[in-house]
């Protein structure tokens, strides 16, 4: 299995995501944002957390227009898998691969802590290792994680079973407690919490491991 991790100049969870992919057994290639094409044969593209271009204005907006993101969009449109975490989720909404937008946290402050995260669906390559309804402990660390969508979109996401995760105790004001959403073909996941920070029992627990293991299994049989 081959994974690519996109590196923007302000990415700072790129190594963490690469480690999580590697622990699950994937071969990882780091891809620089100025590259115009993805390496051949990538099974999944990871867009990591961080502050891609400083994010002084709208988080992820500049990254979404970088050369490599055109290739990521192409990869997704061909049915490829994409995982965007934190800043990566913001980038995915900015590219239009995922609906909705991420706004400033309701309390206007950066929030870093472990939160209870409820798995809403096990019907995706990302969440197949969990049971729907299962509650995970996964860290969040963001200033702009307040997921916003109108009632129609929330109803559609709910109706299509595309809400992947919700917060048990909503830390940031997200509509309908939404922490992660899937694309229509269920192959693109964006989420604010950091599963890659929960893959080692010595730090952060291991509740994120099942996502990377499931991806490995699902992509192997795909």
């Amino acid at each position: 299995m081959k994974a690519a991790v996109i590196v923007f100049p302000g990415s700072n969870c790129d190594r963490d995501l690469a480690v999580a992919f590697e622990r699950a057994g994937m071969d990882v290639t780091m891809v620089w944002h100025k590259d115009t094409a993805l390496p051949e044969g990538m099974d999944i593209i990871g867009i990591p957390g961080g502050f891609s271009f400083g994010d002084y204005l709208r988080c992820g907006a500049i990254a979404a227009n970088s050369p490599i993101c055109r290739s990521v969009v192409g990869h997704a449109e061909r049915g490829g898998y994409v995982l965007g975490i934190c800043n990566g989720f913001q980038v995915l909404t900015e590219t239009g691969l995922l609906p909705g937008a991420l706004m400033r946290n309701a309390n206007l402050k950066f929030i870093c802590k472990s939160v209870g995260l409820k798995v809403e669906t096990s019907d995706s390559a990302f969440t197949a290792g969990y049971n729907a309804g299962q509650v995970l402990s996964i860290p969040v660390a963001h200033h702009d994680g307040n997921y916003n969508a109108d009632a129609e979109l929330v109803a559609r996401l709910t109706g299509e079973d595309r809400i992947a995760f919700t917060y048990m105790d909503n830390p940031n004001g997200s509509v309908a407690d939404i922490a992660g959403v899937l694309s229509e073909n269920r192959r693109v996941l964006g989420m604010m919490p950091h599963p890659e920070r929960a893959v080692d029992e010595r730090h952060g627990g291991t509740d994120g491991s099942a996502m990377f293991r499931a991806l490995m299994d699902q992509l192997a049989t795909a």
Partner: protein, 719 residues
């Protein structure tokens, strides 16, 4: 633009005393140019020259087999085995943070991170020690919010986990808050980069962000007292850009891999001036700068402004000329400025050209080496009056008073604004005791703590200085770490007052004795003086940052207390209430002597904890708040009640040193008692962790109620 004439007023405005100006005339044999006056002022101010403290700083122990590089470079370097080194330093950004809290704190974090990666180390941990005025002072809340957001805003974007620190409140900081930022990085021990230039005719390269007018005169401002003209000083505060700093770090570390770097120095206080002079001086060379080639953010900047600008995220480097193309490519990749702005020269000259005009021509070695050094008069701090009687109170009420005070309440409001886990190596997050970061890809981890109890230092500078080190030693020990080395950030008032100078001298002596006895030499540090407003000084605050090594995961003590655990205290308790938290918070009295530190007992008890780590599930040091506060914190963290046998106020709240509280099961406790008896280490069973109440003797309160108070105290006060 015409440079202003050199008048006595202009000289005074540069913070130079008449005798210092006379010295300048003597050195150069003529009147200085405006730019030269600015350069002298920058090099000779307290912040850069340590002119009041140098005599005493020299007495500090700075060497040991573990020390690769002590004070004098951008940061200290300490061996952690396997060819790896930890690089760390703590530095203040007090004055800027008071004037503009968000940017002041942010650029304080930026400066200390730059110090670390300039040495070739990737930052892996940050801490910050913050001191604010009284919670009911009108400025405090704004400062707390601004400083905490600034620290987080910079560190979170840069991508370094914050793993520890302190937050305190005291009216003595009403007019001068303290922001002490610590950073540590990881490097290969044989790939450390230093600032000494070498080779004549080597290109001097400017890296990073462009130069603007921000921070012009900042170092001089940081060496002055505040008065009611403070608002006018706002333009001297720099503005931070963590995204540029992140790119500068990546580019610098990548550049170092190419072998292009001969020497490198970050542009911190007094920017281009200090960095160029230091590189030349350490290499025994002169430096010629051509300011027309400096990347500039604003038009029409003068030589004076460029030489004194404190624009952030900049570096100066001496480059191997054959590697220029390779080096430039790295900076182009990261979209950063790369400009050759001068060269090293053989003569002892600091030559600054702008528009074909010589703006400064000074003897470089003299400029650097001739900063005035003062042996300031000082008086020993008089012994504190003995503590008069303290009325008895219900000890549960005493605990309530402590845990609802923002000084001792849980600090999650602060720490949740900092990314504590980025880089995914955080073993222990901040909040209680030392933070722990795993050395990426190894079985080793490093522990970090920052400590000082300013009340103690004021009452007894020697004991207070020693206590800060001892507490750091204990915090590292309590997580199973072996203390390695120390960085000190000495925050004091006006050193021209003999009683303030006496505090500084006493504290340095105490710190020196303690780091020698506990084998944790000082490898870096910073002095911040003149922390006074309208003639009133802060509490003397020598912040100690310390780093320890946990060589293997099984050596770490990171468990929590569980129902059924025995509570043991290591060390002797006499019930010292002088300068205690109880006295200050409950009775509003800061009286009596500070607790005295028995360094031999500290060493013996610390070694005992490390040697018996397998018998210890959870451990914490006893510091201010004594046994009562430590037992409550340990119980709250473990989600269990605690019943202590004693209700005696002095036993519960006394702040005797060299003590630890341990939680372990009955069999472990028996084994510890036996081992301690053999080793001559005092050990006492003081109660057990059980139930859902906190009980002292016969008085008790529900844990849940106390926990709610503890979790909300900080936000209630300043949130």
């Amino acid at each position: 633009m015409q440079d202003p004439a050199i008048t006595p007023d202009l000289i005074a405005a540069h913070g130079l005393k008449p005798d210092e100006y006379a010295r300048i005339l003597e050195i150069i044999g003529r009147e200085p140019t405006f730019t030269e006056l600015g350069i002298f002022s920058a090099m000779w101010n307290e912040h850069c020259s340590y002119k009041s403290s140098k005599k005493w700083l020299r007495t500090l122990p700075t060497t040991g087999p573990q020390v690769i590089c002590g004070p004098g470079e951008n940061a200290g370097v300490v061996d952690i085995g396997d060819g790896q080194a930890v690089v760390f330093k703590m530095e203040s950004h007090n004055h800027p943070s008071y004037i503009e809290p968000y940017q002041g704190a942010a650029t304080g974090v930026g400066g200390i991170l730059r110090d670390v990666f300039t040495m070739g180390a990737r930052p892996i941990a940050a801490m910050n020690s913050l001191s604010f005025g009284a919670t009911d002072h009108p400025k405090t809340r704004q400062l707390v919010h601004g400083v905490v957001e600034g620290v987080g805003g910079y560190g979170n974007c840069f991508g370094v986990p914050t793993v520890g620190g302190e937050v305190r409140f005291h009216p003595a900081y009403n007019g001068n808050c303290l922001v002490n930022a610590f950073a540590a990085g990881l490097a290969d021990a044989d790939k450390i980069f230093y600032s000494a230039a070498s080779g004549v005719g080597m290109p001097v390269v400017y890296l990073g962000a462009k130069t603007g007018r921000d921070g012009v005169g900042g170092a001089t401002m940081a060496s002055a007292e505040f008065d009611d003209t403070i608002e006018e000083k706002r333009p001297t505060v720099q503005v931070g850009d963590p995204f540029t700093e992140k790119r500068l770090m990546e580019a610098t570390l990548e550049l170092m891999q190419t072998g292009a770097v001969i020497s490198i120095q970050d542009m911190g206080a007094a920017g281009l001036t200090c960095s160029a002079v230091e590189m030349g001086d350490k290499g025994g060379l002169g430096v010629k700068l051509q300011l027309d080639d400096v990347p500039q953010r604003e038009p029409n900047m003068t030589a004076y402004e460029m030489m004194l600008s404190e624009s952030q995220e900049r570096m100066l480097m001496v480059l191997r000329p054959d590697k220029e193309a390779e080096a430039r490519a790295v900076f182009v990749k990261w979209d950063l400025d790369f400009a050759i702005v001068g060269e090293t020269i053989a003569e002892d000259r600091f030559l600054v050209l702008h528009g074909n005009v010589v703006k400064a021509d000074l003897p470089l070695a003299t400029l650097s080496g001739s900063a005035p050094e003062y042996d300031r008069p000082w008086v020993e701090t008089p012994a504190a009056d003995p503590l008069t009687e303290v009325p008895e109170i219900d000890p549960i009420d005493g605990l309530r008073a402590l845990i609802s005070s923002p000084n001792y309440a849980a600090k999650q409001w602060v720490y949740e604004q900092y990314d504590q886990m980025v880089m995914s190596d955080t073993v222990r997050t901040p909040g209680l005791g030392a933070g722990i970061i795993r050395v990426h890809g190894t079985e080793k981890s490093l522990a970090f703590t920052s400590d000082v109890t300013p009340r103690y230092v004021k009452a007894n500078p020697y004991q207070g200085g020693a206590q800060a080190v001892a507490e750091a030693y204990r915090n590292l020990t309590a997580v199973g770490a072996t203390p390695l080395a120390t960085t000190d950030n000495l925050n004091f008032g006006n050193p021209e007052k003999p009683e303030i100078m006496g505090q500084l001298v006493g504290a340095i002596k105490g710190i020196g004795a303690a780091v020698a006895a506990l084998d944790m030499p000082i490898v870096s540090g910073n002095v911040s003086l003149y922390n006074e407003t309208d003639g009133t000084g802060i509490l003397p605050t020598p912040t100690i940052g310390a780093v320890g090594l946990i060589a293997a995961p099984e050596l770490a003590i990171t468990g929590t207390a569980r129902d059924g655990h025995v509570a043991l205290v290591i060390g002797d308790t006499t019930g010292h209430l002088g300068q205690s938290a109880l006295l200050a918070e409950v009775f509003n009295r800061e009286e009596g002597d500070a607790p005295h530190v028995d360094l031999a007992a500290e060493k013996r008890n610390g070694d005992f904890i490390r040697a018996n780590h397998v018998l210890i599930t959870a451990c914490t040091d006893l510091s201010d708040g004594g046994l009562a506060l430590a037992a409550f914190e340990m119980a709250e963290a473990g989600g269990t009640g605690v019943h202590l046998d004693t209700a005696d106020m002095a036993q519960l709240f006394g702040e005797d040193q060299a003590r630890y509280l341990i939680a372990c099961n009955f069999d472990q406790a028996e084994a510890l008692m036996t081992t301690a008896a053999q080793a001559g280490v005092p050990i006492h069973s003081v109660g057990k962790f059980t139930g859902d109440t906190v009980r002292f003797g016969h008085v008790e309160a529900p844990l849940a109620d106390l926990a709610a108070l503890y979790r909300s105290g900080f936000e209630t006060a300043v949130g």
